[in-house]
């Protein structure tokens, strides 16, 4: 491998800073739960949850790219690791969440009583 093995200490601490700030923002939002965000819906989710998921993905990006040093790997390795995960997870979530929502409707509207 022809990695340039210079010390990345500065970048590591910088990424730690990003991750800490993002986590702090998440925790503050999780405690306050601003009503304007929590009760505004946008494509099936409320804005607060959108923010949480996006921040989570940003954190995941930093962990994989900086800490696991994905940015230093060849793009062929990058794609062969990341794309199957993203594709399969989106597929799985789509199927299971749609089905879960459907079953919720069945419980709600049918004559079968679930919990009472």
């Amino acid at each position: 491998m022809s990695h340039e093995h210079v010390s990345n200490t500065k970048r590591i601490w910088l990424v730690f800073g990003y991750l800490s700030v993002i986590t702090t923002v998440e925790v503050i939002l999780g405690i306050i739960k601003p009503e304007s965000l929590e009760f505004t819906h946008f494509i099936g989710l409320n804005l607060l949850n959108w923010i949480f998921y996006i921040l989570t993905l940003v954190k995941a990006y930093f962990i994989v790219w900086a800490f696991m040093h994905m940015e230093g790997e060849k793009s062929s390795l990058r794609w062969s690791v990341v794309s199957p995960v993203i594709f399969l997870v989106l597929y799985l979530l789509f199927i299971l969440l749609t089905e879960g929502h459907y079953i919720y409707g069945v419980f709600k509207d049918s004559t079968i009583k679930w919990n009472f």
């Binding site: 491998m1 730690f16 405690i31 989570t56 995941a60 390795l77 995960v85 799985l92 879960g100």
Partner: protein, 328 residues
Amino acid sequence: MGATVTTANNDEKTWGGGGDIQPLGASYGKMMMWFFIVSDALTFSGFLAAYGFSRFKFIETWPLADEVFTHFPFMHGVSAPMYYVALMTFILIFSSVTMVLAVDAGHQLKKTKVAVYMFLTIIGGFIFVGSQAWEWKNFIKGEYGAVETAGGSLLQFVDASGKRVALADFAVKLPEQREALTRSHSTWFVEDAETQPTFTVAEVQAGFKAHPELLIRTEQLTAKKKKTVLTRAESESRLGTAKYVVEGANLTRNEYGSKLFADFFFFITGFHGFHVFSGVIINIIIFFNVLLGTYEKRRSYEMVEKVGLYWHFVDLVWVFVFTVFYLV
């Protein structure tokens, strides 16, 4: 297999087929670690997606995380949602930082530095596992207690202002007490399926009758994402259908609400905790190898890099578990 043989001549990064051939530009071990991580990531995704499935199924009755995880060490009776789990997250992120610093020092062949950072990573891992054990302890022990109706839904108790009330604060002691049958008191293999709760259903019902200010809170979420509080008359009739007293959590039922909630909590955080624990063990092994100078002789600290990948992955999973269980 040529690829896995390691000698002092630094063949560690070599594939069978010659020194210069490297599929995807990675050494054999590193690539295998990446693909192990892919499969493990899909396993965790499956669990989290199943959690999402069950949550969507019971979206109107799912427990509120803010009311479940409210403990902080040495702060009894203080409701501190999120703080402890945020602390755990920071500990894990920080141990990831020390791990990546160890890898960085390994690239410069600084043995002492690698050892120190590995050691800090191991300490961080132990603190995290310990924190998780503490979190489990609180979750299993419970705080207020609840009752379950014959229909399987859960009823919690609140006072007029909507504050939770523990069973012990109002339940009365009735004379006809039954002790749990244990094996030591019975003929051989006969015993109660579950241990007895502190109070019986009749004691809770009698106590409720004696405290007219109490109301019952159901699992149902209102439009404002709060649990529904019944009127006194409704409360009395709902409590009449009570079948079990539920204290704390186990795999069958829990005092927080949906039964699946505790099942998923135990399973997913348990599986993650198991990963952290095995990560700590692997880190310890590599730490001793560093001390023994194994990688110094190879002139390559790639092994530290490989366990580092695993350790960061454990951190990565926690980031998602944190969001899904505690934030959303």
